[in-house]
């Protein structure tokens, strides 16, 4: 692990909240921060990006005549050979249905599946593997909480607090539940740093609050929320907290006991695991009281014609044959990530995050959304941005076609956030530990070329 030395910075003047940030919005002072940090980190061994790249076969290809530069990791991550092998091995040697069979293959499949559950539990420091429910993805996990916990715990006048920067999957299910129960949704806006206003959130929490739904790391703003504090404030009024950890679990150490979160969700495909599986962490006492979400096989105890009794958690919430191979693949992904160490991954990505932000600032007329990095504001290794007078889709198309650079353009499943920012869409480059500084350099070079091309046409 590379040691970082913290450089004391001049404090940044905050933007005048009355003036909405416009083009361009990068501060010169920031460059000094990144330069010092990277000067320290650079010496020594090969970077994490370079050392792990060989593990990801998909990265070594050309698209449209250029080397692929994959910068869409917030949408989905790539999978290392170890995960691919685990999947193949499962289907080749011991594929069998779990929990019900007597025979050898089925016993092995069950063992590996349950071992994967234990791995997830250990990865996020849950106290027991029965607190991990395998779902199809984080979206399904949130729906599970909404329909199961929400319908039985919310009533007319109950308040659910969210931020306007939440992903649609963390908003839409609650809209449905609010309609059904008469609960009220309240939204926290952004502060002058373009981060959800934590003070406003604190102020909104009252005895009417039953649930707080927040992201850990924003997939658009790159900001990190102080979950421990939010949980403390929520618990003080008896409210629960659901943490959307899709952008945090793959990139940093997440400790559900340390956070004291009540519910936490994540998707496998964003953390180097296969698609088709995700998980819900729920505290034991909460899961025990929750009625089933989907009904069917596996989640029952006894079935009669007119009624059934249900299994204990987590089985109660896992109806039907699960994505067995995929869960095992997720276990392999966790092994791979743990082998590197999440702290090491986080430190490397912080360096990349700062480098990306600094380099993007050099693009004329660019507007990057979210907070400016500083010693007390850390950004994730992603930047959503717009370049004045150029549609982000045009940018993304040209970057792909002419340079093989893969970024995303759109609202990134955060329409309310984009509406607040006053734009229809943004472009987004998002990195993972197998990206390198050279990837960032290539991205910026290509972006400069792209911007020149479109500007020359005006």
């Amino acid at each position: 692990m590379v040691e970082g030395v913290f450089v004391k910075l001049p404090s940044f003047p905050f933007l005048n909240p009355a003036v909405s940030p416009s083009f361009p919005n990068c501060r010169l002072g920031f460059r000094r921060f990144s330069a010092s940090l990277s000067a320290v980190v650079k010496e020594g061994s090969v970077s994490l990006g370079h050392s792990t790249r060989p593990d990801f076969p998909i990265l070594h290809q050309e698209v449209n005549g250029s080397k692929l530069v994959y910068l869409d990791n917030a949408a989905t991550s790539q999978k290392p050979t170890a995960v691919l092998k685990a999947l193949q091995n499962y289907y080749e040697t011991y594929n069998s249905n779990v929990h019900r069979g007597i025979h050898y293959l089925s016993a092995k499949a069950t063992d590996e599946y349950e071992l994967a559950r234990k791995k997830v539990a250990a990865f996020i420091n849950a106290s027991d593997s029965t607190e991990i429910v395998f779902t199809r993805n984080a979206t399904e996990a949130i729906n599970l909480v909404a329909y199961s916990w929400g319908l039985s715990n919310l009533r007319a006048g109950s308040e659910i607090i969210l931020s306007i920067a939440e992903h649609h999957s963390a908003i839409v299910p609650w809209q449905t539940i609010a309609q059904k129960t008469g609960a009220i949704l309240r939204f926290v806006s952004l502060d002058e740093n373009e981060v959800p206003d934590v003070e406003e959130l604190r102020g909104m929490i009252s005895e009417r609050t039953e649930l707080v739904v927040v992201h850990h790391v924003s997939n658009v703003l790159g900001s990190v929320l102080p979950i421990e504090n939010i949980v403390i404030w929520a618990h003080a009024v008896g409210a629960k907290v659901l943490v959307d950890a899709c952008q945090s679990v793959p990139h940093m150490v997440v400790d559900v006991q340390g956070l004291d979160a009540d519910f936490l969700v994540a998707s496998s495909h964003k953390m180097c695991g296969p698609t088709g599986v995700g998980f819900l962490f729920g505290k034991s006492n909460l899961l025990l009281d929750m009625p089933p979400f989907l009904g069917g096989g596996e989640m029952i105890s006894e079935v009669f014609l007119d009624h059934s009794t249900y299994a204990e958690p987590p089985s109660r919430f896992e109806a039907g044959t699960p994505a067995i191979g995929e869960a095992i693949g997720l276990g392999a992904a966790i092994d791979y990530l743990s082998g590197i160490g999440m702290q090491k991954i986080h430190d490397y990505e912080m360096e990349l995050a700062n480098y990306l932000y600094e380099k993007l600032c050099s693009v004329p007329n660019i507007r990057i959304y979210g907070p400016k990095p500083s010693d007390n504001i850390h950004r994730a290794a992603l930047c959503s941005f717009n370049v004045e007078n150029i549609h982000p889709t045009d940018l993304a198309t040209f970057l792909d076609q002419q340079h093989g650079v893969a970024i995303r353009s759109g609202h990134h499943c955060a329409q309310p956030l984009h509406r607040h920012l006053g734009v229809n869409a943004s472009a987004r480059a998002s990195l993972h530990f197998y990206n390198t500084r050279e990837d960032v350099d290539e991205f910026i070079r290509s972006l400069d070329d792209t911007v020149s091309f479109f500007n020359s046409f005006k």
């Binding site: 889709t393 993304a396 198309t397 076609q401 759109g410 229809n424 869409a425 046409f457």
Partner: protein
């Protein structure tokens, strides 16, 4: 290709002559730049092409000869270029001609390589919206005329453009609305286009059948390789009863038919499904 509006054919030829993707972009953006602006009052929900990548609006109106004209706009330069391409290619043409356009022509532009799949979908959705609007305008106009005889609409695919007012953004693999032109006195009840009619006439002339059915089933095959780059009349079912088949084996009968339709096969007819019988074989049943 010959079925496409003349301006569109020109545009296609132009794009085919430009090989380098970057230059195609420039051409596209040039079209977009010269597009007439669309008044804000027309940027309505009904005029919006669905899809989340960029905003596109299309407005359509008819002149007194019932030719359809279009205006469009987009906040994305490349999408505006695509919209301009369609506006230029389709404006001023009779509704029937616009409706006959199969989205397959997009491949001819060679832009598919240069454009992301979702943008391509936007292109297809734009075209579909333009076709739907043209049809709706025509129906409105003809209601106003009080005439229902002209313009018999034969829908040979499952899409119902009039009733379904919500436009979904997934790519509809069906080719454009099949339309029979009753003006030329062709067989409007069977819904055959020009190729179908040619096939029928040829077989009638050469084989003097006592029974002949020609059915255009191209829509069933829309989307696979054989159909791309054609005008949509690619697959037919033929049932023919003729004395000419007497004494000929099944293979010889099929060869005979293929021989008569050789020109069609060279120009885009992809497959025939043939039932060829003699009168005695039919009576025997």
């Amino acid at each position: 290709m010959e079925q496409l509006p003349p301006k569109l054919q020109e545009i296609i030829k132009l794009f085919q002559s430009v090989e380098e993707p970057k230059a195609k972009y420039e051409q596209l953006m040039f079209y977009g730049k010269n597009l007439n602006p669309l008044d804000t009052q027309f940027k309505t929900r009904e005029n919006k092409v669905e899809g989340c990548v960029s905003q596109v609006w299309v407005r359509a109106y008819l002149d007194q000869d019932k030719n359809v004209f279009y205006q469009a706009d987009s906040d994305s330069v490349l999408t505006k270029g695509l919209a301009a391409l369609l506006v230029n290619g389709l404006s001023g043409r009779p509704v029937q001609e616009v409706l006959r356009i199969s989205p397959d022509f997009a491949v001819l532009l060679g832009l598919q390589q240069s454009l992301t799949p979702s943008r391509n979908n936007g292109f297809l959705n734009m075209l579909k919206l333009m076709q739907r609007k043209a049809l709706e305008l025509l129906i409105e106009a003809e209601k106003g005329d009080g005439s229902s005889g002209n313009g018999q609409i034969a829908n040979d695919n499952s899409e119902k453009p009039v009733e379904n007012s919500t436009l979904d953004s997934k790519v509809d693999e069906d080719s454009g609305v099949g339309f029979s032109s009753s003006k030329n006195g062709e067989d409007s009840s069977s819904g055959l286009g020009s190729r179908g009619t040619r096939i029928k006439k040829k077989l009638e002339k050469e084989l003097s059948p006592i029974e002949l059915e020609v059915e255009d089933v191209s829509y069933q095959h829309a989307g696979h390789a054989g159909v791309r780059g054609s005008d949509g009349e690619t697959h037919f079912n033929v049932r023919i009863v003729s004395k000419e088949f007497e004494g000929k084996s099944l293979v010889k009968r099929h060869r005979l038919i293929y021989g008569l339709l050789d020109e069609e096969l060279q120009t885009g007819l992809h497959a025939l499904s043939i039932v060829a019988k003699t009168p005695s074989e039919v009576e025997a049943k």
